[in-house]
Amino acid sequence: MTQAEEQLPLSGIRVFELGIAIASPFCGRLMAHFGADVLKIESRTSPDVVRLLGSAWLRDREDLASIAGDTSPYVSEMNASKRSVGLELKTEQGRATAMTLIAECDVFLANFGARALADLGFDYEAVKAVNPEIVYVQLPGFGSNPEMPYYPFVAWGPNQAPLVGMDDFTGHSDDPPAGIATVAPPDYMSALHAAIATLTGLEQRDLTGKGVHVDISQFETTLALLGPFVMDYDLTGTVYSRMGNRSMWGAPQGVYPCAGDERWIAISASDEDDWDTLRELVGDAIDSKFDDPSLRLAQQDELDEQLATWTVNFQVEDLAHRLQKHGIAAHTVSTNEDLLHDTHVISRNWYQVAPSKRLGRDVFSGSAVKLDGTSGTWSHAGPSMGQHTREVLRELAGLSDVQIDELVETAAAFEPVDPETVTTRPWDDWIHMFLPGVEDARDL
């Protein structure tokens, strides 16, 4: 361990993670970035969905089919800097080995369904029995109380957003709901709450010696973001719904066309100072009656139409710079290609590059949480399935190589498939975008 790693806020903390997809893994990766040793427990018989996604360019490569599970970009997005331990928890030996690891951990983190977790034998009581001080954090869709109506229901990311009202809130007011299936805020918001709960649990444990059971029902957690709308419904019966990109707090705010095909700009100019500035820029493209702020809110259709006749004359990047230069919040509605060339994003090293056993190196998103004293590390990209099984079982479970061989032979544990098979992503030459001055990140 280097000096820097020793000083990270979570160095010395070990996390046992039973995570799938996003909600638990996104929390685990934040902890790994800040120094925790996160053991991602993986199964070959029922793999994490990120292992099933594979990679687009690999679909016709039969020679690489056996390693497809190590190649989805989501593997690194969700699991960078973690250690992957292949253990089949449905086998008795696999479960027993997992319990010996749990005894060496500070945190238990899981987003398996509550019933699945209990059936596997890893509910809080079982885990506490081997580690009384454990900080146990679970993120089931509907909580861990089997008495509750939705306890057995199928919940996963994209389906939680409509449930908590987010799809109904998405779209223009005169359209059907547009839905938000491209993104899963409930997963990420639950993950951030899990990180906050885990850190709070560690604080309690360090100060009092007592562990804790945290039950994060993704349904309840995400609903905590809707307070003002719940209150207004209770007080007046008002049911808020989608309102496009508009603001309840002032106008104009919206997404407007610019020159070219499908080029759009987002503008938030909802307070009085913004309007004075915008008025100077647009001149008489907008009717003078809109100098009255109440009319701006009351007649937004007309205001937006007039503003659009002005924005459409500009190249989107030019207009965004021009508006921001005058202090008005505006931004290109970025496409994924725009992000590849976004000089601001690149200058902040948002996309990170780290070594990958299978791919040489891999690129993934950084952390939105930035500390200026202990800035965190990405020791490696997403691990191969079972990459660290042997080292972890030796180190933490005290098993000999012979004992580990036995676990592997009886399919209670596994190691990487074809460990000598190494490939590169077809876009490997793009790496210079993210590592200015480094010609070949394999030098890392």
Partner: protein, 375 residues
């Protein structure tokens, strides 16, 4: 016992972006002071308002997000009072660049952790740019991919202000990391969260690693997605339900349900067990599925579909959520008190613990606690 952060003194000078963070922090025990100018925090000016109350006590955003905190009013020109309050803080939440801070660096104790939530961060060419929830979504790649093809793209759940809360929750996670670090090493440090990065972090679907993997320009496809069928929002008697059928066992259960309810036996033909075939025949599949969904209400379809093991959920509206049977049975809802004594329903604790962590109280009146902090 009370929350583990009892005894930690926090000052919040932010508006909407920091408010969710300090609401949680206060709920976990911290003593949070909202430092307000005489006219009140910007959060107090956000609609919806309580009709029967006057400003600055009538904003529902304030009455929700400021729960559990205290209000201290200091005139921005009164540097002596600012210094007196600020020097006591373990943590300060700010939403301004350092050169625009409410108080000079000298007023801040070197042992204080400063947490800044900024539009585009402390560095980079857009350092001085302004932002909002909408702007952050635009800068994430996700806004471009959300909405119907014949309309302008839309931000996900715009009224909820998700990116403000994601930035706030990220800032609190960073703050708790820094507090732990300080407890272990004695060193204070500062936290920075860029709203754009808070959005990018929850948007890998439109991120560069995904683009470099499949080279697909992602664009909006309305409220259904061509990853599978049925996949997306389907109309029913009182709104819409969401269906995401990808797994073979989910399709078999779905086809069986449609056949039993509508008498359509064609849907159970083996050829449709192939997701690629269903995507090819998506208009037909959607029509058959709608024959089922239009016969039930959101709640009926949710309960029956889930009983059959199908990933179906209602497209809920606020009224349906407040009346939801699971949330009622779980005792989720809580309440708070407004200035005139009215009790109003609010969401309860964001998570449950076997130790007593979460406690909160009504939002403070403007300047309610000034006397406690200024002598």
């Amino acid at each position: 016992m009370s929350g583990p952060y009892t005894g930690i003194k926090v000052i919040d000078t932010t508006g909407l972006t920091g408010a969710y963070a300090t609401r949680l922090f206060a709920g976990l025990g911290a003593e949070v002071v909202r430092l307000e100018p005489p006219e009140g925090s910007s959060l107090r000016r956000l609609a919806p308002f309580v009709e029967t109350l006057e400003p600055p006590e009538n904003s529902l955003w304030w009455n929700y997000l400021a729960m559990g905190t205290r209000s201290v009013v200091i005139d921005p020109g009164d540097s002596a009072s600012l210094a007196q309050v600020v020097s006591q803080a373990d943590v300060i939440f700010e939403d301004q660049l350092p050169e625009n801070a409410m108080f000079p660096d000298e007023a801040v104790n070197p042992a204080t952790i400063r947490t800044r939530i900024l539009p585009f961060g402390l560095t980079g060419p857009k350092r001085g740019w302004q932002s909002s929830n909408l702007i952050a979504w635009a800068a994430s790649g996700i806004l471009y991919t959300t909405g119907f093809t014949d309309r302008a793209p839309v931000a996900p759940a715009a009224p909820v202000q998700l990116i403000c809360h994601a930035a706030g929750a990220s800032a609190l996670a960073g703050t708790l990391l820094a507090l732990r670090s300080k407890r272990l090493t004695g060193n204070a440090q500062n936290i920075e969260v860029s709203m754009q990065e808070a959005a990018l972090a929850i948007a890998p679907e439109t991120g560069v690693p995904m683009l470099l993997d499949d080279r697909v320009h992602r664009q909006r496809t309305g409220n259904r997605r061509d990853l599978g069928r049925p996949f997306g929002l389907y109309p029913c008697k009182d709104g819409f339900v969401s269906l995401i059928v990808l797994m073979p066992r989910h399709w078999l259960a779905m086809a069986q349900w449609v056949a039993e309810t509508t008498g359509n036996e064609s849907i159970t033909e083996a050829v449709f067990e192939d997701n690629a075939v269903r995507i090819e025949a998506k208009d037909l599949i959607d029509e058959w599925v709608e024959e089922l969904t239009t016969q039930g209400t959101r709640l009926e379809l949710f309960e029956e579909g889930q009983r059959r093991g199908i990933p179906i959920t209602p497209v809920n509206t606020i009224d349906a959520l407040v009346d939801d049977p699971h949330l009622k049975a779980a005792g989720y809802w809580s309440s708070t008190e407004l200035q005139d004594g009215t009790e109003v329903t609010v969401p309860g604790a964001p998570f449950r613990t076997n130790a007593q962590w979460w406690s909160t109280s009504r939002a403070p009146l403007l300047g309610e606690h000034t006397g406690l902090y200024l002598t």
